[in-house]
């Protein structure tokens, strides 16, 4: 949790982006100078299907306030079928987190193609706002790992 001078809550957002579509989409929003908040930190993975639920849980445990996973649009996966597996895995995982009482708006999957720089920026703006509204993630964290 970063707290800036005017004490507005600044959430920490971890974004996993697949190398072929979404990471390129993120690059494109940079190339087009489309702003999104500094709260978003991107981790590059070869395919959205590389994202293990453990990574997401770990992020929350270590203090992330929201985790978003971006991949190629269904049907466009560089590896043919990766994002289809991602979709099932994340649907079930997010449903489970919801079942455990974790706020649903802290997790999200979004399909962003390499051409959708504008969508990437818009998605990140929107998601950051949504997480900001929820406030800090207190339900799913490990207090011992927090920066004091």
């Amino acid at each position: 949790m970063q707290v800036n001078d005017n004490k507005e809550f600044q959430p920490l957002i971890v974004a996993f982006c697949c190398n072929w579509c979404s990471y390129a989409g993120a690059d494109l929003s940079g190339t087009n100078r489309l702003n999104y908040p500094t709260n978003v930190k991107i981790i590059r993975v070869p395919c959205s299907c590389r994202v293990n639920p453990m990574f997401i849980l770990r992020a929350f445990q270590k203090g992330a306030d929201g985790v978003i996973l971006c991949g190629c649009h269904p049907g466009d996966c560089h590896y043919t079928s990766g994002n289809y597996f991602t979709r099932r895995r994340m649907t079930l995982l997010f449903s489970m987190l919801d079942f455990l009482g974790i706020e649903r708006d802290r997790t999200r999957v979004e399909w962003v193609s390499a051409a959708e720089g504008a969508k990437f920026a818009a998605t990140m703006n929107e998601f950051t706002e949504a997480v900001k509204k929820l406030g800090p993630n207190r339900r799913l964290e490990d207090l011992r790992c927090r920066k004091q």
Binding site: G30, R44, V51, K62
Partner: protein, 663 residues
Amino acid sequence: MQRIGVFVCHCGTNIAATVDVKTVAETLGKEPGVVISQDYQYMCSESGQNLVKDAIKEHNLTGIVICSCSPRMHENTFRKAAAAAGLNPYLVEIANIREQCSWIHKEIATATEKAVILGRAAIAKVHLNAPLTAGESPVVKKALVIGGGIAGIQTALDIAEAGFDVDIVEKNPTIGGKMAQIDKTFPTLDCAACILTPKMVEASQNERITIRSFSEVTDVKGFVGNFTVKIKKKARYVDETKCTGCGLCTEKCPMKKVPNEFNMGLDNRSAVYIPFAQAVPKVATIDPNYCMMLKTGKCGVCSKVCSVGAINYKQQDEIIEEKYGAIIVATGFNPISLDKYDEFAYGQSPDVVTSLELERLMNAAGPNGGTLLRPSDKTHPHTIVFVQCVGSRCDDSKGKPYCSKICCMYTAKHAMLIREKYPDTEVYVFYIDVRTPGKNFDEFYRRAVEQYNVHYIKGMVGKVTPKSDGKIDVQASDLLANEQLHINADMVVLAAAIEPDKTARPLATMLTTQMDTNDFFTEAHPKLRPVESATAGIFLSGACQGPKDIPETVAQASAAAAKAIGLLCKNSITCNPCVAHSNELMCNGCSSCEKVCPYGAITYIDKEFRMPDRTTKVRRVASVNPAVCQGCGACTVACPSGAMDLNGFSNSQIMAEVDAICK
């Protein structure tokens, strides 16, 4: 102990204007394991790269982090630089502080803070990077071309020319494809057979080319450089090695009422047949659906008249297995079925024909010997209406959303040929747009309008109604004059949309290549890699990738050949080392990973393990073929025990990045 070097690029002012690069370099310099942290104006420039190389040597670095533009931009540049300085190229990590930081943020304080965090994540990852060596896998110096139309023939000829063996697999009894059925070609109006058949002969005579006609690919295993393909050689009931193509059997065959597919069913052929005079291979084929001998066991005329004893009623399908280094798909196209187009009365009147049927009607080797006659009463047509875009550029489910590309030009050709040969015939062309980009194409179209007085009318035909007097009423709108028209026509020619061959989809599954929603093969990159599929070692030639005319098809066929030759020239290929691998000690052999692998890269072996108590135990464990694996990582998540991991993006590396970001 790790010795990590951090290099922060200014990228002129691209990064330096919003990120305080000095602070980034200074802060990251204090991270554990970092022994040198520098900033520089342009890290990717030669002097920038030298800075990195010198630092690697001077500080004996074990890993480097470049804080710069996107890894998609310069990761390779810095990997090469590292390799040149003696550092394994996979010990390089990039922190993207331009596209994903300086360019999207405005405030220097927060942008700098983020750049530091991105740098830290890269440092955390590089701590866990392992040196990787790209493996090598041998290349079988032989290519397979699937489809023997002009695309396949051209590709095969080019590859053979370069000195490699090529097999052409063609599902029909002869090669030649659609071009063999075409009468004249635009925009030069030279005869298709005159330019195609010499190429067919050339292919059959080239000692490096093997034509496997009347055959289909049934199974593809393996990977780039090393495919194993099963080919089904369908029974033609004629011994190819004996048949001389004399044609006596086709003359004597009593069963003469078989619709002739080569002439689009406009006339008949015999049950034993040679598709056309210039067929390659020129060998007879018996059609088991019509042959009396095969159906009832009574007849045997062809066998009696064949002087070389080539007829063999007992012939069976045969499966051949061959190895190839490269596969070129050239499965081509077909006109769509017009069953759903009742409004154009196709199927109701024999005088409503498709453009490809018109080609046969006008062809000297066609059913009428080259004289254009109405199929219904064999009279000379005086008014012909052409309808464009039948099923092309359609937004409903009946047709195709794309432009079939070739129809505008061949219709101009047809119109011109008819006006040339039969000046008393009026020709109307109804179009949505006339699209004629291409060398000498627009000139060609203008000649049709200006010199040959073909009536081009912008508008769509609403209804075609066959009348009792044998004429056809064509009801249409003229959009420019804004009026309704009725034309009393003798013939109507429909420019049916083209679609990929039906064999393409099952083939794509076998090849694990991608297709678009219209079943055209998807190229690896729409602009920069237009003749390669995304699957390594599979190339695309001709209309299987999208609608194309002959010059484009031939150009793409040669391009695909060039790409395939580039692969076949190599003795071995370097594999991407960022692939999955299984820790056999932890693998359960449960098959979860195999089920999610899109490439069939995972197999299982029974492996013997020495146990701590000195006994041995045999366990089923996963084994990844690094030449086949493309490194998506689907298996790593499917694996419950975490035995499956991915080089370059390992569980611990990604966890380390997460931790660094969330610190």
